[in-house]
């Protein structure tokens, strides 16, 4: 990656005759800055410049109130049952239906970043509160989000930090705050962990609520990352957030999330993105604008250089084809594919990239699709798949394949593969519903379809 020129990389992308602002590029933008867009949305985007489309995606940083009310009501219904497993179905509803795709995508990013597992927290409502916190700041103020998460009951339960006594401070939260949330491993010392842990003494969770117990607070002087003072928890967090590793750490995670799984970018390439984040006082939206509108984002260094996460794979298919399906079926399926919502593998979250893929998850992706497509509740713009394709004027397997390529895939299939698909499913898109679904299933089971 050393051969990418940072100056070129972060300049604003201007469409050219060779690289026009077309459906393929717009579909790439929506796959990364969201999950996928249907043809109408893509065509609407093409009437505006890429930068304007990105600005609009970022401006939608709060859910429209009507949608929010519906989605929250659904969550409340689930919470009444108290079962965390069903809560993930409520989030699936948002992922599939949210008008503000980037907001939802970033909420998912923060869930992986501030990973907290319902298995240990067990209280579904606390998990839901955390999810709302992540959504509130998803495109907003990173320091506010870090301060919020430092006092978040679900997080502190997850990291065994419901009690922090001055005699033996618990180091777990202090360590993860620096290692996984803000700085990255290697950018602090073991001494910093111990000193920062002293700052958090007296912070505890009682009756599911955060509170400060002044009797357990270590009021002595601490030295955290080179700063000394009789710091409390808030000041400890401030010391961490003032480190320049913060912007570099987040820039590298966003690079991987939005641009390419691999190879890892050079420090030189990342620095302008990091600087942009710091320049805007660690506000998320300006940094993402800088990233998404760049030459790099719309280049071959980014397109097809990402393995879809299970959520991107399934939700993308649904959004791209204006489909709805059983949220329960999806949320259970996502657990088997390695991305159970509210069930990250550990506090480090999902590693992503190649780690999504193994024999079980590859077969599992195909099988979950088979289950969804076999289920009668799965509809496409409220209709059958064959009727949906017909409505779009798509006739025959060849055209159906092209449609799937342009909305869902990062690249086109080879002519040989198209030929094989057409031979295997000759009746697809001729009004034969089972054949249409089988063809879609086959296309999305291909290795190429796992790239996003």
């Amino acid at each position: 990656m050393h051969d990418i020129d940072p100056n070129w990389a972060w300049q604003v992308f201007e469409p050219t005759a060779e690289r026009p602002w077309d459906r393929a590029l717009a579909a790439h933008l929506f796959r990364r800055a969201g999950f996928a867009a249907d043809p109408t949305t893509l065509d609407a985007a093409l009437t505006q410049s890429p930068t304007t489309v990105i600005e609009e995606l970022l401006r939608a940083n709060v859910e429209p109130s009507q949608f929010r009310t519906t989605a929250d009501q659904l969550a409340e219904t689930v919470l009444a049952g108290g079962e965390a497993k069903r809560l993930s179905a409520a989030w699936v509803y948002r992922l599939v239906n949210a008008p503000s795709q980037l907001l939802e995508k970033m909420t998912l990013f923060w869930h992986g970043h501030f990973a907290t597992g319902a298995e240990k927290v067990t209280d579904a409502r606390l998990m839901w509160q955390q999810n709302q916190l992540l959504r509130q700041y998803a495109l907003g103020n990173f320091p506010a989000l870090v301060h919020g998460i430092s006092q978040d009951p679900a997080m502190l339960i997850y990291l065994d930090s419901v009690a922090n006594r001055k005699a033996h401070p618990n180091e777990n939260f202090a360590r993860e705050l620096m290692e996984l949330f803000c700085l990255g491993e290697g950018n602090y010392s073991e001494r910093d962990v111990q000193e920062l842990a002293r700052c958090f003494t007296g912070w505890e969770i009682k009756n599911k609520q955060f509170r400060k117990n002044k009797y357990q607070q270590d009021t002595g002087e601490k030295t955290v990352l080179g700063q000394s003072g009789a710091f409390d928890g808030e000041e400890g967090v401030r010391c961490v957030l003032e480190q320049p590793s913060v912007e570099r750490f987040l820039a590298s995670k966003w690079y991987r999330f939005f641009i390419a799984d691999e190879p890892a970018p050079s420090a030189e390439l990342l620095q302008p993105l990091a600087d942009e984040f710091r320049k805007h006082d660690l506000q998320v939206a300006p940094a993402l604008q800088f990233l998404l509108q760049s030459n790099l984002f719309f280049s071959s260094h980014a397109i097809g250089r990402h393995i879809k996460s299970p959520v991107e794979f399934i939700v993308g298919m649904l959004r791209g084809l204006q489909a709805t399906a059983s949220a329960d079926l999806i949320s259970k399926g996502l657990i088997r594919l390695g991305q159970g919502l509210f069930y990250p593998p550990n506090v480090k979250g999902w590693d992503g990239g190649r780690t999504w893929i193994n024999s079980s998850t590859l077969l599992g992706r195909s099988n979950l699709l088979a289950d969804l497509l076999a289920h009668e509740s799965t509809r496409f713009a409220g209709d059958s798949l064959s009727a949906y394709l017909k409505e779009l004027g798509i006739d025959g397997p060849q055209q159906a394949i092209e449609h799937y390529e342009s909305t869902l895939l990062a690249a086109r299939l080879s002519d040989e593969m198209r030929g094989e698909l057409c031979r295997a499913f000759p009746k697809a898109a001729g009004g034969d519903e089972p054949a249409a679904r089988e063809l879609l299933h086959a296309v999305l089971s291909l290795p190429l379809s796992q790239l996003g």
């Binding site: 006594r165 777990n172 593998p345 024999s359 088979a370 291909l446």
Partner: protein, 438 residues
């Protein structure tokens, strides 16, 4: 094996597969062309008698001090006023050491001569991050060095043959695949649940063929040079796509072989119902079915006991101890125990002094456990001092790569030096160190 006999074998094998997983009626009408996914089952029977390594990863940082307990040391009781065990409680191994009371299974293995415990295992400048420490154990490399693969992955690279055969290594479990098995040339399958490990759908035959041909090399080249805007000006091949294609091939091959192998296994041994117990039962089934897989990898998570450690730790140790001992018993009854070795490790031990939450924080050195019929049983190495500490943690006297080197050289029969990136003295862990270098 001649080409002719190989074809006969594949045909038989394919018929078995169709009978077992699709059913006679649907199998009628499938053409004579054999999809690539069925041909990978060609068995290399020579390998079926080679040594096998089962790795059990205890994730989260196992409290070694409460696993192999220096009950006679007064400093132990002082460091563990609430969490410590008394001489009367432990399962005695020697005059001064005993197992945690819930480890009767492993205690039985030790007494039967099937278990070795290596004390004080660690490495210089120990890292106390779960993830970084685990990466060090998995790759034998520090963060500053390039880490494209794991130590077992590098071993697999030495074993990779051009074609056919069973998968060389298998990871069983819900969790992410361990970095240790990342290899340059071999895709290690992960099996989460056996019932999920086959393609579903009405048209799975067609799908299987399509996926096989899509993963076929010629097709892949065509795919990569496809005419789309996106890929046209790619600076190089898309490595991720190549990875997805080879993973698909591996998945189809492993799926067929594994589903076939686990049918009709009988054992008199009752495995614990825990997840680990069930995973190790599958390992025994696959070994007994003659799979030539050389490495099995399983994990047991939850050892990160920062608070209220006593009960959690006891449950975990019981699950681990019972599952491993059931596996060894089962292998014995099927006459495989002489060629299987089970190695258990954790990314670090825990701090010597307990914390105020009746738990323990991240530490450094800890014990490793090696079991099997060929193991030279006993406690290996000195007990680390409880007073000469490093930042409150036990100091190691044995590098974990010494244990790896022993397993690689004396058990798997390969030269450990290039795999581990240095020379490490081996330990007396096996009865007769005869594994033939292949």
């Amino acid at each position: 094996m001649t080409k002719g006999s190989l074809m006969v074998f594949i045909n038989t094998n394919r018929r078995q597969f169709l009978r077992s997983s699709i059913g006679g009626a649907t199998a009628i009408g499938i053409g004579s062309h054999i999809p690539a996914c069925f041909t990978h089952a060609a068995e290399n029977s020579k390998r079926a008698r080679e040594n096998i390594l089962v790795v059990v990863q205890m994730s989260g940082g196992n409290d070694g001090l409460n696993t192999l307990i220096p009950f006679a040391d007064p400093d132990y009781k002082a460091a563990r006023p609430k969490l410590g065990f008394s001489a009367a409680e432990v399962l005695k191994c020697t005059d001064s050491l005993g197992f945690h009371p819930s480890m009767s299974g492993l205690h039985g293995l030790l007494e039967a001569g099937d278990l070795a415990v290596v004390q004080g295992v660690g490495y210089d400048n120990p890292n106390r991050s779960h993830f970084e420490a685990m990466d060090i154990w998995h790759t034998c490399r520090r963060k500053q060095e390039p880490r494209p693969d794991g130590w077992l992955g590098r071993y697999l690279d030495t074993q990779a043959s051009g074609s056919g055969g069973d998968v060389l290594a298998l990871h069983l479990g819900q969790e992410q695949q361990p970095f240790a098995v990342n290899s340059q040339s071999v895709r290690v399958p992960t099996v989460r649940e056996l019932t999920e490990f086959q393609l579903r759908g009405q048209h799975r035959e067609q799908l299987c063929e399509l996926l096989s041909s899509s993963a076929d090399e010629k097709q892949a080249v065509a795919l990569r040079s496809s005419t789309s805007v996106s890929m046209k000006e790619s600076p190089s091949d898309n490595d991720l796509l190549a990875f997805l294609e080879s993973s698909t091939t591996a998945a189809l091959a492993a799926s067929e072989r594994v589903s076939e192998a686990v049918q009709g296994y009988k054992s008199d041994i009752t495995y614990p119902t825990s997840e680990l117990g069930q995973k190790l039962r599958i390992v025994a089934q696959l070994i007994d079915a003659g799979l030539t897989t050389k490495i099995y990898y399983v994990q047991l998570d939850g050892f990160d006991t920062h608070s209220q450690q006593a009960q959690t730790h006891s449950i975990l140790l019981k699950q681990w101890s019972e599952a491993v001992s059931a596996l060894i018993q089962d292998l014995k009854s099927h006459d495989h125990d002489q060629r299987v070795c089970v190695m258990s490790f954790s990314e670090f031990g825990r701090r010597v002094a307990e914390n105020a939450s009746e738990g323990t924080d991240h530490g450094a050195a800890g014990p490793m456990f090696v079991s099997g019929g060929k193991v030279a049983a006993g406690i290996v190495g000195e007990s680390p001092s409880l007073t000469d500490l490093q930042d409150g943690d036990l100091k190691h006297h044995t590098d974990f790569r010494q244990v790896y080197a022993t397993v690689l050289h004396d058990w798997l029969g390969v030269d450990p030096t290039p795999i581990l990136g240095g020379q490490y003295a081996t330990l007396p862990l096996f009865k007769n160190q005869v594994a033939s270098a292949s």
